[in-house]
C-alpha cells in the first residue's frame, strides 16, 4: 500500500483553555474518501482546521504528502495542494460567483474543461455566474463552496459537513458531485453527519470521541454493523 496522503501522529490541539484534540491518530489513503465521523463536539472540525493550519497542533505531527506541515502557515498549506471547504461555507458574499471561483483558482486562470465539469455538477452556478454570491440560496452557496475547492485539482480535499441543513434534492446533488470527484481519484477527508451520504461515499471511516480517533476501518464494515455503530456513536446507520 502506498504512503497515505495525510497522516496525523498524536495530534493535540488546544483552543484557549480547552483541550479539543487529545492525540489524534489518523491516516487518509491516496485516492480514497476517508470519513471522519462522530457525535457533535468530539473534534472533527478542529481536526480539519488543524490540518489546514487554522489551529496549531501543540503536540504531535501533521504529515502531508511526506512533508511535515504542522508549523506551516495556512496559505502555504493551501498552496501545497489542500482544498478546504469549511462548515460555514465561507463564501465571499460581496463578490460574484465568478469572482469567487477566480479567487479560488489561486494558481492561475481557470481551466475551461474543469469549469465545464464544475458547471455540470452544479448547474445553478452557471446560471448565477455574474450574480453576487450573497444573493444565492443556502444550497447554492454550499455548491459554490465545494465548487471553489473543485475548480483546481488538489492533492487533498478537506470537506466539513457539506450537506448540513440542505434540502434532500440539494443533498443528492452534493453527493453526486462528491462521487464524481471521488471517481477522478481525489483524496478526500470528509466530515459528514448524513450517514446515507457517508455510506455511499466513504471507503474508510474514522470515528472520533472526546478528541481522539477511537475506531478506524472500512466504511463498509461500519455501515454493516449496527452494534458497532451503536457502541461508537450511540446510534445506528440503519435508522438513517
Amino acid at each position: 500500500m502506498s504512503d497515505p496522503i495525510l497522516r496525523l501522529e498524536g495530534v493535540c490541539t488546544n483552543i484557549a483553555q480547552y483541550h479539543i484534540l487529545q492525540g489524534v491518530e489518523l491516516e487518509v489513503p491516496r485516492g480514497q474518501v476517508t470519513m471522519l465521523l462522530g457525535r457533535n463536539g468530539v473534534g472533527k472540525t478542529t481536526t480539519l482546521r488543524t490540518v489546514i493550519g487554522h489551529w496549531r497542533a501543540h503536540k504531535g505531527r501533521v504529515m502531508f504528502d511526506g512533508e511535515d506541515i504542522t508549523a506551516k502557515p495556512t496559505p502555504a498549506i493551501a498552496r501545497s495542494g489542500v482544498g478546504f471547504v469549511p462548515e460555514d461555507m465561507g463564501i465571499f458574499s460581496d463578490l460574484t460567483v465568478e469572482e469567487n471561483m477566480v479567487l479560488a483558482a489561486a494558481s492561475g486562470p481557470i481551466d475551461s474543461a474543469r469549469l465545464d465539469w464544475v458547471f455540470s455538477a452544479f448547474p445553478p452556478l452557471k446560471t448565477f455566474w455574474s450574480s453576487e454570491a450573497g444573493n444565492l440560496s443556502g444550497g447554492q452557496k454550499q455548491m459554490l463552496s465545494i465548487a471553489r475547492a473543485m475548480i483546481e485539482e488538489r492533492k487533498l480535499y478537506l470537506i466539513d459537513e457539506p450537506t448540513k441543513g440542505l434540502a434532500p434534492a440539494i443533498v443528492s446533488t452534493m453527493a453526486r458531485a462528491l462521487k464524481e470527484l471521488k471517481a477522478q481519484g481525489a483524496s478526500i477527508l470528509l466530515v459528514e453527519q448524513n450517514f446515507a451520504v457517508a455510506r455511499a461515499l466513504g471507503d474508510t471511516a474514522n470515528v472520533m470521541d472526546d478528541g481522539r480517533v477511537i475506531w478506524s476501518g472500512a466504511m463498509a464494515k461500519l455501515a454493516g454493523d449496527a452494534e458497532l455503530q451503536e457502541r461508537l456513536m450511540g446510534l445506528s446507520l440503519e435508522a438513517h
Partner: protein, 356 residues
C-alpha cells in the same frame, strides 16, 4: 472606452451616474462656472479630499483595516513638497521630488507599521496608527527649525502656478469666458488633473485581482488564507499603496494652499472628517469618496452662510432664528450626518445602488 477608463466599475445606478457626471463637470469647469476665489478654493479642496478619501476607502472599505494615521501620510506628502520647495527653490522639479519622496516615505512608514501590527490583528493596527500619528504630529510641532512648528511653512510655487503668471494674452486676450488666464487657474487644473488620474488609478487597483482579494480578506480572512492568499502581504500592500496615494493628495493640497501646517494636514479633526466622508459616501465603493467628499466640503464651506441667510429669513419667528443662527452650523452639520448615516446606512452610493 468609458468602461476601460472606469476599469469596468460602472456606477450601476442612473441617479448615481447623473450625480457623478454633474460633480465631474462642475469640478472640471469650476473656475469658469463658479468664478471667485472661495468657490474655486472649495472645488480644489473637493478634488484633494476625493483623492484622500478614496485612498482611505482602499484601506477601510476594501481592506477592512481601520487606520488613524491617514492624515499623517497626508501630512508627510504635504510637508515633502513644502520642504522641497523651501530648500530646493521654486520649480516643478522640487514639487515632483517632494511629492515622490513624501509618497515613498509614507509607504515605507506604512510598511513598518503594517509589518509590526497587521501580523497579529487588524485592531492593533488601529491602535498603533493612533499612537504613531499622535507622535508625528507632536514631532512636527516641536521640530520648528525644519517644519515651522505650529506656524507651519509658507513657500513659493513655480511662477507658472502663481497668480502673477498670465498667459493666452495674444490668442485670447488673457481671458476666457471672463476668467483671467493666470497661474492660479493652472494650479487648479494641476490639482484637478492629479486627483483625477490618481483616482482612476485607485479605481483600477480595486477592480484588479488584487482588489478582489482585498474584498475577500475583508469578508473572511481565514477563508482567504485557506485558499492560499497571504493575508498579511495583501493588507500591508494595501496599506502602503493607500499611504502613498494619501501622501500624493497631501502634495496636491500643499501646491494648492502654498502652505502647510499641523492643523491643516495632521490634525485628528481632519482624520474624523475623512472617516465621516467615507461613511457618508459609502464604504468599499470608491464613488462614495466622490459623493462623501463633495457633500462634506460643501457643507463645511457653505452651511454657515446658508444658515445665516435662513436665520435672516425667519426673523420675527420665535426660537427659529436662534436655532438657525450661523454660529450653530456645527450643530446642524452633526445633525445632518446623523440623519445621513440613519437613512443611508450603506452610504449614499450603497443606497443608490440598491443596497439596504
Amino acid at each position: 472606452m468609458l468602461q476601460s477608463l472606469l476599469s469596468g466599475d460602472m456606477p450601476r445606478s442612473r441617479i448615481l451616474a447623473v450625480i457623478l457626471v454633474a460633480i465631474l463637470v462642475c469640478l472640471a469647469l469650476a473656475p469658469f462656472l463658479f468664478p471667485g476665489v472661495r468657490t474655486v478654493d472649495t472645488a480644489a479642496r473637493i478634488c484633494v479630499f476625493i483623492l484622500l478619501v478614496a485612498s482611505y476607502d482602499l484601506l477601510l472599505g476594501y481592506g477592512g483595516i481601520v487606520s488613524f494615521a491617514h492624515t499623517m501620510f497626508f501630512g508627510i506628502g504635504a510637508y515633502g513638497v513644502a520642504l522641497a520647495l523651501t530648500h530646493m527653490g521654486r520649480g516643478f522639479g522640487p514639487i515632483f521630488v517632494g511629492a515622490g519622496a513624501g509618497a515613498v516615505m509614507a509607504a515605507a512608514l506604512a510598511l513598518l507599521i503594517g509589518l509590526f501590527s497587521l501580523r497579529v490583528r487588524a485592531i492593533f493596527f488601529a491602535m498603533i496608527t493612533l499612537a504613531v500619528a499622535s507622535a508625528v504630529a507632536v514631532l512636527v510641532s516641536q521640530m520648528s527649525g525644519l517644519t515651522g512648528g505650529e506656524d507651519g511653512l509658507t513657500f513659493k510655487l513655480p511662477r507658472a502656478l502663481g497668480p502673477a503668471f498670465k498667459f493666452g494674452k495674444e490668442a485670447l486676450g488673457g481671458e476666457l469666458f471672463g476668467v483671467t488666464l493666470n497661474g492660479k487657474l493652472l494650479a487648479y487644473y494641476f490639482v484637478f488633473a492629479g486627483a483625477l488620474v490618481l483616482f482612476l488609478m485607485l479605481l483600477r487597483v480595486v477592480n484588479s485581482p488584487f482588489g478582489r482579494v482585498l474584498l475577500a480578506i475583508r469578508e473572511n480572512d481565514f477563508r482567504a488564507e485557506a485558499i492560499g492568499y497571504r493575508v498579511v502581504y495583501y493588507r500591508v500592500a494595501a496599506t502602503c499603496l493607500s499611504a502613498a496615494v494619501a501622501a500624493l493628495a497631501g502634495s496636491l493640497y500643499a501646491v494648492w494652499l502654498r502652505y502647510v501646517g499641523p492643523e491643516t494636514t495632521l490634525s485628528m479633526e481632519l482624520m474624523i472628517d475623512i472617516l465621516l466622508m467615507v461613511v457618508i459616501g459609502g464604504m468599499g465603493t470608491m464613488y462614495g469618496a466622490v459623493i462623501g467628499a463633495t457633500l462634506f466640503v460643501l457643507a463645511q464651506n457653505y452651511l454657515q452662510t446658508l444658515m445665516g441667510a435662513a436665520s435672516g429669513l425667519v426673523e420675527g419667528v420665535p426660537v427659529l432664528p436662534q436655532l438657525l443662527s450661523a454660529d450653530r452650523w456645527l450643530l446642524w452639520l452633526g445633525v445632518l450626518f446623523i440623519l445621513s448615516v440613519y437613512f443611508f446606512p450603506t452610504g449614499v452610493v450603497g443606497r443608490l445602488r440598491g443596497g439596504k
